[in-house]
């Protein structure tokens, strides 16, 4: 949708106010907006609110095959949904440059800075690993989008617990949360993002700009730091001309903010853990809505007379079985050759019968020998099949045609008569083997 353009008068007033240190929401130039962080009743979900910006993040995990280049490392996937709900200028179902920048930055902060121990996400090297997926959805946009999204994602990752697994020789057992407690992710550090706006060729610094302010500023820089006083990412959102001293100053501001917010995140997670271990049902996201809003929860409950239900026994088996990987099976040699051989032989037999019928009376082959030759073909087929298995199981397999009373010598002349067909079929077989 079209966004109304920024008027000259708005821009002038905002710039003039910023230059004299005033802001429209009565904040100081170096003052952050209040951060509200809530974790949901389902593990691995969190909502972060900074002023009017609202972002929700949800984490889920599933078992997948690792890439061949990193067979013992888990995979973390980040997905961002930027819809017109957040800002009318966003396109529906398509990530514009802003969305791509957001995904790239979240990947940089969460994946490339190695804040999560991916090697602990490995179940079986080269075969099974945990694929952790972080879904970030922007609900409302009013500046400092990266800060909010990063905070929500980090909190959700801290809150998330993956199912517990045990390795059995041929398969993996995944336990539900009722059998074995789920395991939290191994997180080394928490990178916290700060958006710093720049004005007047970098002389002035505006912290946590709202969207209107950001449109009037010269540029902005995003710094991600963690509690260990390390800089995890340094990213310029827009074009800017700065001096290195100013960059260092921005980094220092971001550092103090990171320490404060890390404490907030830890507090929220600890409180939620306390509530859960006391078997208290967590409030979840309902505490984000103010109680003044009329909700159905305040109306008087109506009694519903439901018919009596027979409670059946709860299903005991809650274990999920992974399909086991059978060793020593080469699906290629068993499946395809057999199928093709059968088809080819059937086709040839069909053609043979057509030729016989059309020629009419010329006894190319008598039914007995054709039966025998068919049997011989079958024997050869079975030999081929067993060849494949022979190699691995190292057993001597001998095939014998059962029920044939004729000794091999009698069979041979018959075979010679049909040498042509046999040769054709064996030639075809050889061709297939090659």
């Amino acid at each position: 949708m079209r966004v109304p353009p920024l008027t000259t008068c708005e821009k002038e007033v905002i710039l003039e106010a910023l230059k004299s240190g005033k802001r429209f929401d009565f904040r100081g130039l170096e003052e952050f907006r209040g951060v509200k962080l809530v974790v949901g009743s389902e593990i691995g979900t969190a909502i972060c609110t900074i002023g009017n910006t609202k972002v929700i993040a949800a984490v889920s995990a599933q078992i997948a095959e690792p890439s061949s280049m990193r067979p013992h490392k888990g995979v973390i996937i980040i997905d961002v949904d930027l819809s017109p709900m957040a800002n009318v200028s966003n396109e529906h179902d398509r990530l514009g440059s802003k969305g791509m920048e957001l995904i790239r930055l979240l990947e940089l902060i969460i994946r490339d800075s190695r804040c999560i121990d991916v090697e602990s996400l490995c179940i079986r090297a080269g075969k099974e690993i945990w694929k952790v997926r972080v879904d970030v959805r922007i609900l409302d946009e009013d500046g400092s989008l990266l800060d909010c999204a990063c905070l929500a994602a980090i909190t959700a990752l801290q809150h998330f617990k993956r199912p517990n697994v045990t390795l059995e020789p041929h398969h993996t057992l995944i336990y539900s949360e009722y059998e074995k407690a789920p395991v939290p992710l191994n997180i080394y550090h928490m990178p916290i993002c700060t958006t710093i706006g720049l004005l007047d060729k970098g002389q002035m610094v505006v912290i946590d700009p709202t969207e209107k302010e950001a449109a009037c500023l010269d540029g902005s820089i995003v710094v991600a730091c963690n509690k260990r006083r390390e800089v995890c990412a340094l990213h310029q959102s827009t074009n800017l001309v700065l001096s290195t001293k100013q960059i260092e100053r921005c980094v220092k501001l971001a550092m103090s903010r990171a320490e404060a917010l890390t404490a907030v995140v830890s507090d929220v997670i600890k409180q939620d853990q306390r509530e859960r271990s006391a078997f208290k049902r967590p409030d979840g996201f309902s505490i984000t809505t103010p109680s003044l809003i009329l909700t159905s929860g305040t109306a008087a409950a109506r009694q519903i007379n439901a018919p009596r239900i027979q409670h059946g026994r709860e299903p005991e088996e809650k274990m999920l079985y992974q399909p086991s990987v059978i060793v020593n099976e080469n699906p290629l040699s068993v499946g395809s050759v057999k199928q093709e051989e059968v088809d080819e032989d059937a086709l040839i037999a069909e053609q043979l019968s057509i030729i016989q019928n059309s020629v009419g009376g010329v006894a190319v082959s008598d039914p007995q020998s054709s039966g025998v030759s068919k049997r011989k073909k079958e024997k050869e087929m079975v030999d081929d099949l067993l060849d494949g298995i022979c190699d691995s199981e190292e057993e001597e397999v001998k095939t014998e045609i059962l029920g044939s009373s004729e000794p091999m010598e009698v069979v041979l002349p018959v075979v010679e008569q049909q040498k042509d067909e046999e040769d054709v079929t064996s030639w075809r077989k050889k061709k297939k083997k090659v």
Partner: protein, 226 residues
């Protein structure tokens, strides 16, 4: 004060002799059926609903604040917050002739009247009345513009509303209210503009007079730099 929802039929005794059916009410046969949720209002034979909305639909005769987006040919292309752009011809300004063109750039704002809303064409505005006089319309210089909901705008310019008068006791300012939800404010200092903006935004949901006075006082004494 009754609140009606879409689909309700109005049976107010004061509405029985009304000759003008206004906003939010449709006539279906003999019945007056409500189409938009709102509070019922009546006045001297007119009945209408006061509806909360943010999106402006152009109506002839409305005075709106428009943003200039581009200059094409003999027209300015304007944004009035509707689905389509609106336009104003160069000649519809006071003192404009073929030689003397108005000096407007992209990003400037003007106060104009909607005078042509033919469907399937862009709305056309004018900055002069029938006698080619401006009457307060034209370019708005300096100041600050912001958006509120449409019903709040209508409430502000209602003569019986106390908000602007109460503010006038504390602040010295100049204000223009557009029917498309846009308000332009000018004050001597930036600090005052910020406070006035804050008061107008917060006063949307304040009804009592005491509350209003305390809000304005609080804003007046509050420091803007935090």
């Amino acid at each position: 004060m009754a609140v009606y929802l879409p689909g309700d039929v109005i049976n107010e005794p004061s509405s029985s002799d009304s000759s003008i059916i206004g906003y939010g009410i449709n006539l279906r046969g003999e019945k007056k059926v409500v189409t938009q949720p709102g509070a019922f209002r009546s006045d001297e034979g007119k009945i209408w609903l006061s509806v909360h909305s943010k999106r402006y639909i152009p109506q002839e005769g409305d005075r709106v604040i428009a943003i200039v987006t581009s200059k094409t040919g003999d027209f300015f292309r304007l944004d009035i917050g509707t689905a389509e752009y609106a336009m104003i011809s160069f000649t519809n300004f006071e003192g404009a002739t073929k030689r003397n063109r108005p000096n407007l750039k992209t990003g400037d704002i003007i106060y104009a009247t909607v005078f042509d809303t033919t469907p399937r064409t862009e709305a056309e505005l004018t900055c002069v009345d029938d006698e080619k006089r401006a009457r307060g319309m034209g370019q708005l210089n300096g100041g600050y513009m912001f958006k509120v909901s449409l019903n709040h705008c209508r409430r502000l310019i209602n003569p019986s509303c106390e908000i602007l008068q109460t503010m006038g006791k504390f602040f010295k300012f100049e204000i223009t209210v557009g029917m498309n939800g846009r308000i332009w404010v000018n004050a001597p200092t930036t600090e005052e503009i910020i406070k006035i903006h804050d008061v107008i935004n917060k006063s949307e949901f304040i009804t009592g007079e005491d509350e209003l006075i305390s809000l304005v006082q609080h804003s007046y004494t509050r420091s803007v730099s935090g």
